[in-house]
């Protein structure tokens, strides 16, 4: 494709930073703040877009791993729902970000139901809690690395870049 996505994103950032922002009056703080955030989002998306499909695949694979670890201790009814969501996740179109996102949401709801333990809030066994916290740490680190360019993370300097993070996930 010509012009490609990287070039168009770079053009948009340049237009915002060199033309639009300087033209905005200093007292128009909302407009200035939002224009700067548009540039910030675009810069982040420029770094992310080529890895977005891979990122979603890694996220779904990790959630499936958690679901399998929770399965043995889940009640029969919750286990059936979880198995069905797992089957849907395994069958989803892995070339489509939208399809993977949908599978992630559906499987996430089934995992949530197990975490809450159904209507009687059955206790979660220690092994399930350990698996859950291990998964949650991987998930949080992945998301923090994905969005580290927002510079809001107090420990951003400890996070890997996107390529390293995805390579580690493999």
């Amino acid at each position: 494709m010509l012009p490609n996505i990287d070039l168009r994103i770079a053009n948009m950032i340049k237009a915002l930073e060199q033309v639009v922002l300087p033209a905005l009056p200093r007292d128009q703080r909302l407009a200035r703040d939002q224009a700067m955030l548009v540039a910030g989002h675009l810069r982040m998306m420029g770094e992310q877009w080529k890895s977005a499909l891979r990122y979603e695949q890694v996220a779904l694979d990790d959630l499936q791993g958690l679901a399998r670890q929770l399965l043995p201790a889940a009640s029969a009814l919750l286990a059936d729902d979880l198995k069905a969501a797992l089957a849907m996740a395994q069958a989803c179109d892995r070339a489509s970000v939208t399809a993977i996102e949908r599978a992630n949401i559906d499987l996430g709801h089934a995992v949530d139901a197990v975490i809450l333990g159904g209507t009687d809030h059955a206790p979660l066994p220690p092994a399930s809690i350990d698996a859950l916290l291990d998964y949650a740490l991987r998930h949080a680190r992945r998301e923090r690395s994905w969005f580290k360019a927002n510079r809001l993370d107090p420990d951003q300097n400890d996070l890997p870049d996107l390529e390293t993070m995805l390579a580690d996930a493999d």
């Binding site: 007292d27 128009q28 703080r29 909302l30 703040d33 939002q34 955030l37 548009v38 910030g40 989002h41 982040m44 959630l63 958690l66 996102e101 992630n104 949401i105 996430g108 709801h109 995992v111 949530d112 975490i115 809450l116 333990g117 809030h121 206790p123 979660l124 066994p125 220690p126 092994a127 809690i129 350990d130 859950l132 916290l133 998964y135 949650a136 740490l137 998930h139 949080a140 680190r141 992945r142 998301e143 923090r144 969005f147 927002n150 510079r151 809001l152 993370d153 107090p154 420990d155």
Partner: protein, 397 residues
């Protein structure tokens, strides 16, 4: 090492509180959350223009106060905050040609936190004369006249970050106070102590309810509030958010003596004058409620609201080292900090922030129901910081 929850589940009841009763919540909070869901479909919401604001204010003052020859001028949108639409303006009318400088603070259709302007007005009035707070000129708690819930406050001069400071950020996050810290820290600690010492039983706080002392209700009300926000708006499930809710229910501590909590007293939420450094206003009372004082302390010491000195010392709210802060607070308030309860409320606050960033902010932005959706998605991209905190805090608890 994870805790065996079966031991806790089988333990004898601590009090009469049902930790899984999701309906056990302050009545006004319930109304606000229900209104949020009901009104959500009315979007999208667009930022108000100056001319729209002028028309709204002229209509409002004519109807509520019967003012004549109303003139609204010098309308200026105010920066800061990630929640409400705020405009400074001057009101003139037949009886006042000089004019009064005021601030309109009104709810967009949906914000990063859904709160009550009536509660905000009551707590401002209650603390007048105790702490520097903006005066309340008028309130339309349910937007019956203004068209959307709003509060009109007296204008306060001051800054939320040093004019010549070295660090600035969204909603004050990342602000560095540098040499100003020595002047600001004692006032910050005193403000927290004053809030917690406040005699809420003697004040007109009819929009509020108090949890029962000597029970877990203070904690459970908060868990019910924020978990309801999560489940009403969840865009994508997050396993850690769900587990944190469960953990918070199962570990809820008893609150012996409920106090007024500001609930968002941190960097960016106080104003001061330059060069004296004297506080001119404690801001953003919208999350105030009656609860456990540990909640405010745990809120203030969050990593996201702090900064680091060049030698690596963490400063609570960019002002003071953590241990020094805790000691100074105890001395100023007379309260003794229970480390177990403090840890619980650190978990609760991390949960609350995760719900706000990954739940309510994402829902409002998805529905296009805010005047600054882009700030909501920007803040949402920091939500995972709180997820990792939840893991660490729960593992250490």
């Amino acid at each position: 090492m994870a805790i065996d929850m079966s031991e806790i589940i089988d333990a004898p009841p601590i009090d009469r509180i049902d930790i899984w009763n999701r309906d056990d919540m302050e009545p006004r909070i319930r109304e606000i959350l229900d209104r949020t869901v009901r009104d959500r479909v009315k979007g999208p919401y667009a930022a108000k223009t100056d001319s729209e604001v002028i028309a709204m204010l002229e209509r409002y003052f004519a109807r509520t106060e019967g003012l004549e020859a109303i003139g609204i001028s010098d309308v200026a949108r105010m920066a800061g905050g990630a929640s409400k639409e705020q405009f400074a303006f001057t009101l003139r009318h037949k009886g006042d040609g000089v004019g009064e400088r005021l601030v309109l603070r009104m709810d967009p259709l949906e914000a990063i936190s859904q709160t009550c302007r009536g509660r905000e007005a009551q707590v401002h009035v209650a603390f007048a004369g105790i702490l520097p707070v903006a005066s309340v000129r008028s309130v339309d708690a349910d937007g019956e006249i203004m068209g959307q819930p709003a509060i009109i406050l007296g204008f306060v001069n001051g800054v939320t970050e040093p004019s010549e400071g070295t660090g600035h950020g969204v909603s004050g996050i990342g602000t560095r106070y540098d040499d100003w810290a020595a002047k600001l820290a004692p006032q910050f600690i005193d403000a927290l102590a004053q809030v917690h010492r406040f005699d809420w039983r003697s004040a007109d706080l009819s929009y509020y309810a108090a949890p029962e002392a000597g029970t877990r209700q203070a904690a459970i009300w908060q868990v019910n509030w924020w978990s309801q926000v999560w489940w009403d708006g969840v865009v994508q499930p997050v396993a850690m958010v769900t587990y944190a809710e469960r953990w918070l229910r199962e570990h809820a501590p008893i609150c012996d003596a409920p106090v007024m909590c500001h609930s968002d007293l941190r960097l960016g939420n106080f104003m001061f004058e330059e060069p004296s450094g004297k506080f001119t206003a404690v801001l953003d009372w919208e999350l105030a409620h009656i609860g456990d004082f540990h909640e405010d302390i745990a809120w203030a010491i969050q990593r996201l609201f702090g900064t680091w000195t060049d030698d690596g010392t963490f400063l609570v709210c960019g002002l003071i080292a953590r241990d020094e802060f805790l000691r100074a607070y105890e001395a100023a308030s007379g309260n003794r900090i229970d480390p177990v309860k403090l840890r619980y409320y650190e978990v609760l606050n991390a949960y609350k922030c995760a719900v706000i960033d990954l739940g309510q902010a994402m829902r409002a932005a998805t529905q296009s129901n805010n005047h600054q959706d882009i700030i909501l998605t920007w803040l949402g991209s920091a939500g995972a910081v709180f997820l990792e905190q939840l893991v660490m805090l729960i593992r250490e608890a």
